[in-house]
Amino acid sequence: MNRYFDNASTSFPKPPQVASEISRYLTEIGGTYGRSAYWRVYETTRMVEACRDRLALLLGTGKPENISFCVNATAAINTILKGIRLKKKKIFISPLEHNAVMRPLTMLQKSGQVILEVLPAHPDGSINLEKLSQINLTEADLIVINHQSNVSGVIQPIADITKYAQEVPVLVDGSQSAGFLPIKIDEWGIDYFVFTGHKGLLGPTGTGGFFVRNPENLQTLLEGGTGSSSDSFEMPDFMPDKFQAGTPNIVGIIGLLAAIDNHPESIIAHVDIINLKNEISRIDGYQVVCAHHSDHQGTLFSLVHQTATASQIAGELFNKFGIEVRSGLHCAPAAHRFYGTFPEGTVRLSFSPYHTLNDLNYLLSALKNLTNHI
């Protein structure tokens, strides 16, 4: 039985090939990325580039070279937010942004570099497109949208938002969507797309990155050796080297490649998550924080209890049933303020392609049992 329901924090289990490929690299291959020409380096470099290619395919872009690796989504978001030129000094954000976005933006706001404005949203947090159409978005440098909320699982209508945005670049935080949901960077006209490797993509921690459509519009955050243009003190301006200062996390990227190549088909279907959510909302005492339309519901949702706190529920679920879930604010106080669940937070249930119907039923019966005894 799989009682781990915290896949939005980091996914578990991983495809077994993640560990075996990492081990093969560490014990048999070795070698750095691109700095020399012998076999170990070639093989390592080939795998890193294969990972970039697979990511491009998965995320729907024909420009794999415009994908840069970072240590996580947070580093990728910081690179973008601190690397774009803020001419109009205004950034629009969704009301459900994670602190990976809110903290760097607050830094920029405090130093007077930018004003933040929250986009209009429906009560479930999804962007209100009708109201959006009445806003003059062109007065902003950037629009930032969390693709799938890490609190409610609400999926934002990215293709519609980029249409309204027109020339204004859109940064999509895909930390909770990459690997979990279909993504079409080119078709949807996304300018910046951020991913992390250790959640839906089922890779190891320490991996992530971003796609940038127009690299010339983005300054570097880190400068250093790339193994290319080594006669110069300046960073190369071509991709992918421009944002790849220093030796990349080769171990992690090889693990991520194995994860993408061996990503399992989900055992449970979307409707099973919807059914579970509906069942929980019918149990006395629980209230579910989720999308109002099942089409907008992703691979996680939250709950609160009338009398018990989120941390009590999480503690009891683990102590009595061995069920692992995350409680609290999930690094997203903006979202909790929006939903009225601040500062207590919620209990978050987040799923994996490895979960079975049995696992979901076990979780449901544990929640039923708890509400009678808490």
Binding site: G34, A37, Y42, R46, D241
Partner: protein
């Protein structure tokens, strides 16, 4: 005798070029960039093929920026 050295801006381009040229049975060897060639990255391709037209055509078609250098050996 001459050998052809193809150099590239980035190692990603080396990997792409190597895979592509091999598909067309063009013999490729990955070598460190010879010191007297000023190149942009640490590895390059050595080939004994003198069909530079085809190499140029294939690489350009796949948007792989490159430089072809011919080394004369005595």
């Amino acid at each position: 005798m001459s050998t052809t050295i193809i150099t590239f801006e980035s190692v990603r381009m080396v990997i792409k070029a190597d895979a592509l040229l091999r598909q067309y049975q063009i013999f490729c060897k990955i070598i460190p960039v010879p010191g007297h060639i000023s190149s942009e990255c640490g590895m390059c391709i050595e080939t004994n093929s003198d069909n530079h037209e085809l190499i140029r055509h294939l690489l350009s078609k796949h948007h792989i920026q490159h430089n072809i250098n011919v080394l004369q050996s005595t």
